[in-house]
């Protein structure tokens, strides 16, 4: 069993559906397919839901219910680094 399949439980893009949000979603999907992770990407557009994460500048990226980036359109490599980091934390614990 590969641990990477289990440690990334959910991935969300927070944003109003603007072009930048869609670009972040695409970058995230590309990163996941490069890593061979099949966790689906959710796109949250509800303002209340977005506020629940404390985010005020969209788009934001949420991995395992943790906000890892906001207000920036990440590149594929950035997303890969973030996922690797979270996976690494899980393997240690």
């Amino acid at each position: 069993m590969t641990p990477s399949q289990n440690t990334i439980k959910n991935i969300k893009i927070l944003g109003s559906g603007c072009t930048n949000c869609n670009r972040l979603e695409q970058a995230t999907k590309d990163a996941l397919s490069k890593l061979g992770i099949e966790t689906p990407v959710e796109h949250v557009t509800d303002f209340i839901e977005i506020a629940r994460y404390g985010v005020m500048s969209t788009p934001a990226l949420v991995i395992n219910d943790r906000v890892v980036s906001y207000g920036r359109v990440l590149k594929v490599d950035d997303v890969i680094n973030m996922i690797e980091k979270i996976k690494g934390e899980h393997n240690v614990s």
Binding site: S16, C18, F47, I48, I50, A51, R52, Y53, G54, V55, M56, S57, T58, V67, V68, S69, Y70, G71, R72, V73, K75
Partner: protein, 334 residues
């Protein structure tokens, strides 16, 4: 000292060299730059290039600074202050926090749910589109450093006073449910290194250029038109010293327009050259950048009509007052 400053203002910021260069190129192409059409073309080419260069340099530097002040961090800083100090700080942070009207709802929710008083939120909302580092530098290039500094200072004053008035108007019941029902959460500011910030600044620069370029073309086009085709008497008559309502007129025309300071600058410059008063021109610019239909529609989702009307009223009144003040001070500024 005077010489160095003149050089910075005319050549570095005003780019007189570019004006001369474009003129020489047109002459080399066998065109007569004293011809009205060619003069319009000359102005258009020079101004578009100048504004694009200014925009790229300015937005890059500003975005780099802004990367230190995401709204999430601004919120946390503001929640530590109370009273007038909080208003002043909110107005100041409004100048360096990146903000577009598309995120006004999450921002409103975030600020309010963190317990920030309405006065602070509105000081931020007024100062954010009206004054920023970009407007300081741009106004300095065109109208001189005294005008640039005074504009920023007065913009901040409006933001602080406006927020205070809203506080005293007791409008807490004027928030939409969407704001009231939101829970509050603080999140960490992700750590960015030097390269991340440069990346951010580059992305912002390219995106702003893409977004604003059409407005620049339109703005410079109108500017060129005014510059070479509209009789001086018309402009001076309507927007100059002879019309006491010039400021009011300029403000009312400017409000529904949706534009960027980079697009309004060429219009302002051309109007001033044709005899419009400084304050009248600045009122027009402030009205265009501060209030626009798209941002008001967004804001309406978070606040009720009464508060929205008060917000609009304060902005209009502030802009008009600043306009008249600049008209009064014009002999000492330019």
């Amino acid at each position: 000292m005077r010489l160095i400053w003149d050089f910075i203002q005319n050549q570095l910021l005003g780019m007189k060299w570019l004006n001369d260069l474009v003129g020489k190129l047109l002459t080399l192409m066998g065109l007569d730059i004293s011809n009205r059409w060619i003069a319009s073309l000359h102005f258009f080419v020079y101004d578009v290039i100048k504004i694009v260069i200014l925009l790229c340099v300015l937005i890059f530097i500003i975005s780099y600074i802004q990367s230190f002040f995401p709204p999430e961090r601004t919120k946390r800083i503001l929640s530590r202050f109370r009273g007038l100090g909080a208003n002043i700080l909110a107005a100041l942070l409004g100048t360096v926090t990146p903000f577009c009207s598309c995120s006004s709802i999450p921002l409103f929710i975030g600020f309010s749910s963190a317990g920030l008083p309405l006065s602070v939120t509105f000081s931020f909302l007024i100062s954010s589109p009206m004054v920023d580092l970009g407007s300081l530098v741009l106004l300095t290039t065109i109208f001189g450093v005294k005008t640039g500094v005074l504009y920023v200072f007065l913009g901040l004053v409006i933001a602080v006073i406006g927020g205070t008035i809203i506080e005293h108007a007791r409008m807490e019941n004027q928030l939409e449910d969407i704001v009231l029902n939101a829970p509050s959460f603080d999140i960490d500011t992700p750590e960015l290194n030097f390269r991340d910030r440069l990346d951010y600044a580059k992305t912002q620069m390219l995106e702003t250029l893409k977004k604003v370029f059409p407005y620049i073309l339109v703005g410079v086009g109108i500017g060129a038109l005014i510059h070479n085709w509209i009789p001086q008497d018309w402009v001076a008559g309507i927007l100059g010293g002879r019309n006491p309502f010039g400021v009011v007129l300029a403000t009312i025309i400017g409000i529904p327009m949706y534009g960027d300071i980079f697009g309004t600058i060429p219009i302002a410059e051309a109007l001033l050259a044709k005899g419009a008063l400084l304050g009248t021109v600045l009122a027009f610019m402030m009205a265009v950048t501060t209030l626009s239909l798209p941002s008001l529609i967004m804001l309406r989702k978070a606040i009720k009509p009464k508060l929205l009307a008060l917000f609009i009223g304060i902005c209009i009144l502030g802009i008009i007052l600043i306009g008249y003040l600049f008209n009064l001070l014009q002999p000492y500024l330019i």
